[in-house]
Symmetry: C2
Subunit: 366 residues, 2 copies
C-alpha cells in the first residue's frame, strides 16, 4: 500500500533532482515511490462517497456496510526487485505475496476475506513452478480463512510479477489507523526485530552463518507470519491508539505513525527486542544487530501506540491472549522526529532509513 | 478477471501437452492462462462465507451488505504483451488500464466505486511518463465517479506493469451473471464490432488506412469507453438473463456465456453489426471485416441475452434510454457450441478463437 510518510525526506541515496541537470527528463529512480506518490496524490478522490480513508494508511477504508468497514489493500512483488528465484521457493513466494497483504489488514485490526491474484508469467516458465506459487497462496489463504475469488493471469516478457489485492473488514468502532497516536502514549512491538533482515543478508551472502542457524533467519524472511489474530485481539479490546505493520523497518514505520498523527517519538535503545539467535549471529559475524532491528524491514510485526490508561490492561495480557509477545520500546512525545534514548539517559535524533526499491540491486523489500 | 470458459478447448495454437514429450517440464506457454486456471482453481474457496460468486464471471461477488452486493475485479497490463510504448500514449494507457476493469463492473450491472493501482516502473523511466499514465487514470476515474484509494508503486527490471483492482456494488436483485442464459433468449450486442481490432492491426502496421480514418480505429482501440451507464440501465430494468463484456472477442465471450449457462447459441451472420468505417477499410485493404468482428476482441461492448418476453420492452427503448445502440444478433438454443446461420438458411458450427497472450509477439489483448 501507499505509505506517504516517507515522501518528505530522501531515502533515495542522495540522487534527487536538484534542478542543476538542465532539461534532461527527471527519471523515476530519482524521485522514487514516495516522491512520485506525492506528485500524483492530488485529485485521486473523485467524490467522498463512502471513502473513510484513502491514500495514507495500511489499507484504504470504506463503508460502513451494516456496521462494518471494508478494508482494501494491494501489493506487487516483482522478480529481481523483491525476490530472486534462487533464494525463495515458489511455494514460499506465493505464501509471502499473500502474507504481506494480510499484514496490512492485521495492522487495521481487520479480518481478511477475499483475494484477487494477478500473475504475469514469462511464457517459458515451468507450469509446476507457478502451480507451486499458487499452492503457497492457497495454504496461507486457507490458514487465515481467505477466499481466492479471482484474478488475472497474463504473459510477461521477462520477470515474474505477482499482484495480490485483498479485501477485509472490521467493526466500525474497532478500526485502528496510523493517525491516532498522542503524546504520552506508549509504543509497543509484537516480537523481536531484525531476524528477517538477517535472513535477507544470508540469502545475499553478505553474512555466512553456521548451517544450523541460517535456516531460522531465511525462513523468517521467506515465510512471514502475518499477525492477524494479534491485530484482531488488539482491535477488539480497543487498546491501541495507532497501529502499523513493520514492513519498511521499525524507524521508517514509526515515522509513518508520527507523521500521520502529528507527533514525535522516543525509543529506548536497550528495550528494542532482539532474538537470542540474532544476537548470537551478530556476535559471530561481527555486525550490530540493532542496525537490522531499526532499519532492516520485512519484520511484519505490529507496531502500536497505547494510551497510558490502557497500558496496564495490555500488560496484564499474556502472550496467549493476543498471540504474540509485547515489548514496550518507547513513548510518543510532542514535537517531530524520532529520538533514541540511550542507557545513560543521553538522547540523539535518529535519521530514518528504509527500503528503497528504486536503488539498483535491491531485492528484499515489499 | 479469470474467464474459465475457454479452459476446456485449445486456444493456444495447437501446442498442448500431449504426454509425448518425455520428462521435459511443461512450460506455461503450452497450457496458457485458461489451462493454468483449470489446474489451480480447486481449493481457492477456503470457506463459503459471503462469497456469492468466485472464479468464473466478470467480477467476484460477495455480500450482501445492507442489500448490496460488492463486485471485485482486477486486470494486469504488461508492456510488450498488452501494449507497446510507441503505439499508445501514457495518458491513453492509464485510461485503458482502468477502462478494462470498469467494463467488468459494467457487465455485472454494477456501479464502480474504488480503485487500487499497482505500478511496476523501470527505474530509468521518465517521471512525466508515469505521471501522464496517472493523469489518464484520474480522468477516467473522475468521469465514472471512481475514487483511487491507494496502491503500490515498485521498481521493475524491464517492463512497465500496471495492475488495477476495482470494487463496485450492485443491488442484490439487479446483478447479472454469465450463467442465466436460457434457450429461446435473444442475443444482443451494444455496438459495432471489430473497430478496436482494426485499430490494433493499424498500430501493428498490418493494415495501412488512409490517414483520415486511421485515427478513428486507433482511438477506439486505445481509448475504450466502458459501458457502465448501459450496464446499469439494463440491470435496473432487469432485462438481461446473462451479460458479459466483449474483451476476448464476440465468439469467445459468447462461449463463456454458453458454458456458464449450459446452453448453445446461434448467430445470424448478416446481423453482426459492422461500422461504416470498418466496411470501408475492409474494402480498401481487402480483408473480411466479419473476422475482426467475431474474433478480434477488445471491443468492450456488452453482450447480453434477453428472455423473449422482455425483448419487446428492450426494443422499445431508444439509444438515449440506455446510452448505447442495441443489435439483435442471435438466439440461445439447446445443446452446446455456437452455430452461424447464413443468409440462405444454412448453418455451420463455429470454431472459437480468441486472444492468446501466451503466443509470442501478441500485444493486443487484455
Amino acid at each position: 500500500m501507499f505509505c506517504l510518510a516517507k515522501g518528505t525526506y530522501s531515502i533515495f541515496g542522495g540522487r534527487t533532482n536538484t534542478g542543476q541537470e538542465g532539461s534532461r527528463a527527471l527519471k523515476f529512480r530519482e524521485i522514487g515511490e514516495f516522491g512520485f506518490i506525492e506528485s500524483i496524490k492530488k485529485d485521486c478522490i473523485a467524490s467522498l462517497k463512502e471513502v473513510v480513508k484513502g491514500i495514507g494508511d495500511d489499507c484504504a477504508v470504506f463503508g460502513p456496510y451494516s456496521g462494518r468497514l471494508l478494508l482494501f489493500t494491494t501489493d506487487m512483488l516483482v522478480e529481481d526487485i523483491h525476490f530472486l528465484r534462487d533464494t525463495i521457493t515458489p511455494y514460499q513466494l506465493g505464501w509471502k505475496a499473500v502474507a504481506v497483504n494480510l499484514s496490512d489488514i492485521a495492522a487495521m485490526g481487520g479480518r481478511p476475506l477475499f483475494a484477487l491474484i494477478s500473475l504475469a508469467v514469462p511464457v517459458e516458465t515451468d507450469v509446476e513452478l507457478v502451480q507451486d506459487v499458487y499452492r503457497g497462496m492457497k495454504a496461507i489463504c486457507d490458514h487465515y480463512g481467505v477466499n481466492i475469488v479471482g484474478g488475472d493471469t497474463v504473459a510477461s516478457p521477462d520477470a515474474l510479477v505477482i499482484n495480490v489485492s485483498l479485501i477485509g473488514d472490521v467493526k466500525e468502532g474497532e478500526v485502528v489507523y496510523r493517525s491516532g497516536a498522542r503524546p504520552g502514549n506508549r509504543i509497543y512491538i509484537t516480537g523481536t526485530l531484525g531476524d528477517s533482515s538477517a535472513g535477507l543478508k544470508i540469502l545475499k551472502k553478505e553474512i555466512s552463518p553456521p548451517d544450523s542457524t541460517g535456516s531460522y533467519f531465511v525462513r523468517t524472511h521467506n515465510e512471514p507470519r502475518p499477525l492477524v489474530e494479534t491485530g484482531r485481539a488488539i482491535a477488539t479490546m480497543r487498546l491501541a491508539s495507532a497501529m502499523i505493520d513493520v514492513s519498511d523497518g521499525l524507524l521508517s514505520d514509526l515515522r509513518h505513525i508520527c507523521k500521520e498523527s502529528g507527533v514525535g517519538a522516543s525509543l529506548f535503545r536497550s528495550k528494542i527486542p532482539l532474538s537470542f539467535e540474532l544476537k548470537a549471529l551478530a556476535s559471530m559475524a561481527n555486525f550490530n544487530p540493532l542496525d537490522l532491528a531499526l532499519s532492516g524491514g520485512e519484520d511484519y510485526l505490529l507496531l502500536l501506540t497505547v494510551p497510558e490508561a490502557k497500558a496496564q490492561d495490555l500488560e496484564r495480557l499474556s502472550k496467549d491472549d493476543i498471540g504474540s509477545p509485547l515489548y514496550l520500546i518507547g513513548e510518543i512525545g510532542e514535537g517531530r522526529g524520532i529520538r533514541m534514548v540511550n542507557d545513560d539517559g543521553s538522547v540523539e535524533e535518529v535519521e530514518v532509513r528504509g527500503f528503497d526499491h528504486f536503488s539498483p540491486g535491491h531485492h528484499g523489500g515489499t
